[in-house]
């Protein structure tokens, strides 16, 4: 509380006389100034000049042995004072010593004065006035007497006092003026001057007062009477010698207090004259002096309220009534001196005059307080801030900055207040030099901590909220104007960045703060919103799981799982950006690791999301999002192809015990302890599918089959408890059921392949059969059925093949492997000796191939050479196979004994023949043979003729075709031969001879053609036949019918002629036989050769009829 200005203009002089010394004494701590000084003076004189008198008086006064007792009790009763006065009067009458008598008179005057005061206190004013007058008279008497020349300054002082107490201030001022004029060295000089100054000040003579107070201020200690333990030290003339002054000077405190009062009044005197610089200088000097005395008590108790702390912190500040009224008023005067100075100028002046003063904070605070009261809030705030800026290292600097903030807040200058708070938070951060320097001053630290924490929280929250508002506005704008695509502009980003900055400052300032987790969460949120995703992730994860010196268990963050989940979401956002190829920018990067697009980098982030997700699942088992997080993690692991971890996560989610699925049970049936947890299908289904795919990749196809089966079961259920679950499953079923069935089938298929690779073809067949039975809609069904047939073929399970192939063709009539299956069916029938079926199948296959060849665009339609070649090759191959199949069909018909079916087959070959080749020759050959078997010689020989006519004799043929055509030619020659043999030479001779001769020539010509084919067998035969014909012709000639009527000689002549006719033929026959003989010599073998030897043995017995000797 502030007290009122000094009552220097009080109406009562009496009151003034007492009041001012009282106030001054209060400041100095000396008690009642006037009384004490007077009594001390009296007591001193008694003790020094009238010791004996006083001791004597004491013995007279039973209960008052000394003056001190009288003085101390201040003569509480009139009776006692009168009794003492009576004693002094008695003593005055008895004593002869003038000095002693004078002393008694002074005592009596003092007692009168005291009695007057007592009357006045007791309300006995008439008696009081009478007593004062008695005292005045006594002192005037003394001054007029010779004795009054001694101690005259004292007497003048006492007289002035008496006047003053009676209200005769002018008389008192005269006495005092006489005293200072006549006794400049008097010990009363400073006080008397002070009373004179007061008198002049009250009389509005501020100039005079200034001079008097200036004189006091300028007063040197040397002439001053020193007071020490109440003893007055002076020479006999009442003057102080140098030695006594030096040795008995008053205490520095007393002198300082007295000087300070004079300086105080000097300042006011100057202020009253509007000499503000002089007044400020005077007050400044006063404050210099007081500051040297005042040492604000430091209270280091930490656990204090803000108010108490502030009081303690700024003890001595006028703002908090530090108790030194002199300082209070000096400060007030200084403030008032600046009151009309512009703030900027005032700050400069303050800086020049006080910035380096130890009490500068008093001045700044007082002035700021004044401004505040005058509602000059901006000036007040500026002034508070000015101190903080001018004296930044001061221990009071934070308080001033805080006061500046409070003032701005009071004035609702919010923006400025936030800026100052930011300055406060930055400057007094524990990591900053100021805080470090204040470590030993605990109360400063405590003060800083209390406000810094609040400010950091407020700053973070403020900018966070500001950013949200800005963002919301942007969104609203974006709705209004769709062309605004980015909801984040620089203002929003700046606000979020600023918020994150303050959250970081809070964290670094108070790493052990109980709400550190929340701060990390808010930091992460602001980082996320400003697109600093990597940093956001780190902050979220610290909030959720600890790190960077933070332990979540110690935190009050109620929902660390929210932070953990948020981290996962930010990872997803980051990955989304990478997936769309969004390049890194400064807002999404850290200094150490810029984000770049690319699969490898994305995989790294995906890996980190997995780790974060697993942490989430581990820490927050009861969180409802745990299953969703794990499901997403499974998807991530699938993308990374990390099958082992994927299995672990899936099994964890599905509630499958570890290694159950991958134990040694290779059966496709579920293990006994296979008990998956009942899960929401939107989690179960991805887990089943992904884990199935993983086990498939790990080539554990048994487990994969199980898991795919579970997935199929989930998808096929239609009794889910919620509509959402059912809708999810229904939608997924549309897209995933068939692919899953395919994968399920593939798992079985792989088991079949493994069995086959292990040589277990029967096992493989069983697996394929299982696939067909369990996944009939699978696209692998066709392969399974096909492979089953292949394996049945390989294992020669022909009957099963015969049953399986028709089923395959029925199930997949248009499949590309139908022909292959038909071939296998053909092979099975062949193996089973089902020749007729085999023939029909082969024929059907051939026809099908022919149809396919016709359907496929031919080489002529091909535009490119390569295509041309490929198509041509394919056609050629198909044609070739078709030809083979036709042959096979005919052959199988033969084996079935069905000659007619065989004939049809060979005719089919001939009809489909595209060129003259060996097959064509063979077909005709076989047909001829078949016709021979069914005794259809016409058809048989027709085939021979067709064979003969296929090509010219000298055409280039294969050996087999050459053989066949030679055979055909031989067979046809045989007809001529038989016809020739049937002809006889008989009457009419010439005609018959000519016919036979023509037949001979025709037959020989036929055999000549046969020989031209150079097929050994038929060449030998032809040679032998020709020889036989010639021999036969010779024989026929010889055995021809003899003309009738020839006599013996004529007959002999005729026969001779016949021999001559026959001989050349015989010779030709022998020559031809010998051709065969010579062929025999060359190693040829043939019945014709044997026949030739046989014929020669008859034709040339001397040479050829040589028979081995046998025993």
């Amino acid at each position: 509380m502030r007290r009122s200005r000094p009552s220097l203009v009080a109406t009562s002089r009496r009151l003034i006389f007492f009041a001012l010394p009282f106030l001054l004494c209060c400041v100095s701590g000396c008690g009642v100034f006037g009384d004490r000084y007077a009594l001390n003076a009296r007591t001193s004189k008694v003790e020094t000049l009238g010791t004996k008198v006083d001791r004597w008086i004491s013995t007279r006064a039973d209960e008052q042995p000394n003056d001190s007792a009288i003085v101390d009790v201040a003569a509480p009763t009139l009776l006692r004072s009168e009794e003492i006065a009576s004693v002094y009067r008695d003593a005055y009458e008895l004593l002869q010593d003038p000095i002693a008598k004078n002393h008694i008179l002074q005592r009596l005057a003092a007692l009168d004065l005291k009695a007057a005061e007592n009357f006045e206190v007791s309300g006995l004013l008439p008696e009081s006035q009478e007593a004062y007058q008695v005292a005045i008279d006594a002192y005037q008497l003394l001054l007029a007497s010779e004795a009054g020349m001694q101690n005259r300054d004292e007497l003048l002082y006492a007289l002035a006092k008496a006047y003053a107490l009676t209200g005769e201030s002018e008389q008192a001022f005269v006495s005092l003026t006489e005293l200072v004029d006549q006794f400049p060295e008097s010990r009363f000089w400073p006080e008397v001057q002070f009373r004179r100054g007061e008198h002049l000040f009250i009389a509005n003579d501020f100039s005079g007062a200034e001079k008097v107070f200036q004189a006091i201020v300028d007063y040197q200690l040397e002439p001053m009477i020193a007071l020490e333990n109440g003893q007055v030290i002076s020479d006999e003339k009442g003057m102080l010698d140098k030695k006594s002054i030096t040795e008995n000077k008053p205490s520095e405190v007393e002198h300082t207090d007295f000087t300070s009062n004079a300086r105080y009044m000097l300042g006011w005197s100057q202020f009253k004259q509007a000499d503000y610089p002089a007044a400020i200088a005077s007050f400044s000097l006063l404050l210099d002096e007081r500051a040297a005395i005042e040492q604000p008590e430091r209270i280091t108790q930490l656990a204090m309220s803000d108010e108490l702390l502030t009081r303690t912190y700024l003890l001595g500040s006028p703002a908090f009534n530090h108790g030194d009224k002199l300082i209070d008023d000096a400060l007030r005067a200084i403030a008032l001196s600046f009151a009309y100075t512009p703030i900027s100028e005032a700050i400069v002046k303050l800086q020049n005059n006080f910035a380096e003063k130890a009490y500068a904070h008093w001045v700044y605070a007082e002035m700021a307080e004044l401004y505040f009261k005058q509602e000059r809030f901006a000036d007040a705030a500026s002034l508070y801030a000015a101190y903080e800026q001018e004296v930044p290292t001061s221990e009071y600097a934070p308080w001033f900055l805080k006061q500046s903030i409070a003032t701005l807040q009071h004035a609702e200058f919010s923006e400025d207040a936030w800026e100052r708070k930011a300055v406060f938070a930055d400057r007094y951060h524990p990591l900053q030099a100021y805080y470090q320097a204040q470590q030993s001053t605990d109360y400063v630290k405590h003060y800083l901590d209390e406000h810094l924490g609040i400010y950091l929280d407020e700053l973070g929250s403020f900018y966070h909220a500001k950013a949200r508002v800005l963002k919301q506005k942007l969104k609203q704008k974006a709705v209004a104007d769709p062309e605004l695509t980015s909801p984040l502009n620089s203002d929003v980003a700046t606000a979020y960045n600023t918020a994150s900055y303050w959250y970081r400052q809070k964290i670094s300032a108070y790493p052990a703060d109980s709400e550190l987790g929340s701060t990390y969460y808010l930091l992460a949120e602001s980082l996320q919103e400003s697109d600093r995703l990597i940093e956001a992730i780190e902050a979220y994860e610290v909030a959720a799981y600890g790190g960077l010196g933070f332990t979540p268990e110690d935190d009050q963050l109620k929902v660390p799982n929210e932070a953990g989940y948020a981290a996962i979401l930010v990872y997803s956002k980051l990955l989304d950006r990478l997936s769309v190829g969004q390049l890194a920018d400064s807002s999404t990067t850290t200094d150490s690791e810029p984000i770049t697009s690319g699969s490898t980098h994305a995989d790294d982030w995906r890996e980190q999301r997995i780790e974060s997700s697993l942490l989430f699942a581990e820490h927050f088992e009861l969180d409802q999002r745990r299953n969703a997080v794990l499901a997403n993690t499974i998807t991530d692991l699938q993308q990374l192809k990390d099958w082992q971890r994927l299995m672990a996560v899936s099994d964890s989610l599905l509630g499958i015990e570890t290694n159950i699925a991958t134990n040694n049970d290779r059966s496709s049936d579920a293990p006994a302890n296979w008990a998956p947890r009942q899960l929401d299908p939107q989690y179960a289904l991805p887990a089943w599918l992904a884990s199935a795919a993983a086990t498939y990749q790990l080539e554990d196809y048994v487990d994969a089959e199980r898991r795919y089966a579970e997935a199929i079961n989930v998808m096929q259920r239609d009794n889910y408890t919620t509509v959402e679950q059912q809708r999810y499953v229904d939608e997924l079923r549309q897209k995933e059921l068939q692919p899953t069935i395919n994968n399920y089938a593939s798992s079985i298929y792989k088991q079949a392949e493994a069995a086959n690779a292990a040589g277990d073809k029967v096992g493989a067949i069983a697996q394929f059969d299982r696939l067909v039975a369990n996944a009939p809609t699978s696209e692998l069904r066709v392969s399974a059925q096909r492979n089953t047939i292949v394996l049945l073929t390989e294992t020669e399970q022909w009957q099963a093949v015969v049953e399986a192939v028709p089923r395959f063709i029925n199930d997949f009539p248009g499949h590309g492997d139908v022909l292959d299956m038909q071939r296998r069916l053909l092979n099975a029938n062949v193996a089973l000796n089902e020749w007729r079926s085999a023939s029909l199948l082969a024929s059907g296959l051939a026809s099908e191939l022919a149809r396919q060849i016709r359907r496929v665009p031919g080489a002529a339609n091909a535009s490119g050479d390569a295509l041309h070649d490929a198509s041509s090759d394919a056609n050629n191959n198909a044609n070739s196979e078709a030809d083979d199949l036709r042959f096979a069909a005919a052959d199988y018909a033969l084996k079935a004994g069905d000659k007619r079916l065989a004939i049809v087959g060979y005719q089919d070959i001939i009809n489909n023949s595209r060129q003259i080749d060996e097959a064509l020759y063979e077909s005709h050959f076989k047909l001829a043979a078949l016709y021979a078997e069914i005794n259809n010689s016409d058809a048989q020989f027709n085939q021979y003729r067709r064979i003969r006519d296929l090509q010219p004799v000298d055409a280039d043929r294969s050996p087999r075709a050459q053989y066949i055509v030679a055979d055909a030619e031989s067979q046809l020659a045989e007809i001529d031969f038989q016809r020739y043999r049937r002809l006889k030479i008989q009457e009419p001779l010439l005609e018959s001879l000519n016919r036979k001769r023509e037949a001979l020539e025709k037959t020989v010509a036929a055999y000549d053609r046969t020989e031209q084919y150079a097929v050994e067998k038929f060449a030998l035969l032809a040679t032998e036949r020709k020889a036989l014909i010639y021999a036969d012709f010779a024989k026929a000639i010889m055995e021809s019918e003899r003309p009738k009527g020839l006599d013996e000689l004529a007959l002999e002549e005729y026969e001779f002629l016949l021999e001559e006719q026959a001989y050349p033929f015989e010779e030709q026959a022998i020559a031809l036989y010998e051709v065969n003989v010579k062929r025999a010599w060359q190693g040829m073998k043939s019945p014709a050769i044997i026949d030739s030897y046989s014929a020669l043995s008859e034709l040339m017995p001397a040479r050829y009829n040589k028979v081995e000797i046998v025993q």
Binding site: V1077, W1081, K1085, V1107, E1108, I1109, Q1111
Partner: protein, 185 residues
């Protein structure tokens, strides 16, 4: 001396003979049967006694069976029996000549030559073998020189020279002189 074609009994229907000689495992049993039927001594058709080599009963039996198969027209069976006979170590000129003639009839001239030569190895002075080999060389090989050589050996080793053979030699000499030749080796 008989100049006759082999005329054995028909044994075509003998399943035992068919299978026995077509499968080596049964040949031993057949050989035992043949051996029991074989005679102990052979007298050369030309009156010479081949004292050096006489096939045992087993081989003789084989020879008999082979001839019967041959006579029956079962050439394959006959061939298998002859081969078994050879495998059994037939050395006697009679056995070997029968086999060589059989081969000649099949126009297996080279094999026949070898069998004859084998016979001459054991019985180099066997006139029959020289006679037969001479025919083989003349008619079936066209090797007139060798034919002449063996005819001459026959003439030399026979009890008495054959005038017909003498003419054959003359004919050959003429044909050789005229440069007529067949397949001389």
């Amino acid at each position: 001396m008989h100049r006759t074609v082999v005329n054995s009994k028909v044994i075509r229907n003998s399943k035992l003979m068919r299978s026995g000689y077509r499968h080596k495992s049964s040949r031993l049993l057949a050989a035992v049967l043949f051996a029991a039927l074989a005679s102990c001594a052979q007298i050369g058709s030309n009156g010479t006694v081949d004292a050096e080599f006489k096939d045992n009963a087993k081989i003789r039996s084989m020879l008999s069976d082979a001839k019967r198969a041959e006579d029956a027209g079962d050439i394959e069976l006959a061939k298998s029996i002859y081969e078994a006979m050879m495998d059994s170590g037939a050395k006697a000129s009679r056995s070997l000549n029968h086999y060589a003639i059989f081969l000649r009839k099949q126009l297996e001239i080279d094999q026949a030559e070898n069998v004859y030569l084998r016979a001459l190895k054991y019985s180099p002075r066997d006139a029959t073998t020289h006679y037969n080999l001479g025919i083989l060389y003349e008619l079936y090989r066209g090797d007139f020189s060798k034919a002449k050589q063996h005819y001459e050996s026959y003439q030399a080793n026979a009890e008495e020279a054959d005038p017909a053979v003498k003419n054959w030699i003359v004919d050959l000499e003429r044909r050789i002189a005229s440069g007529e030749s067949g397949g001389e080796s």
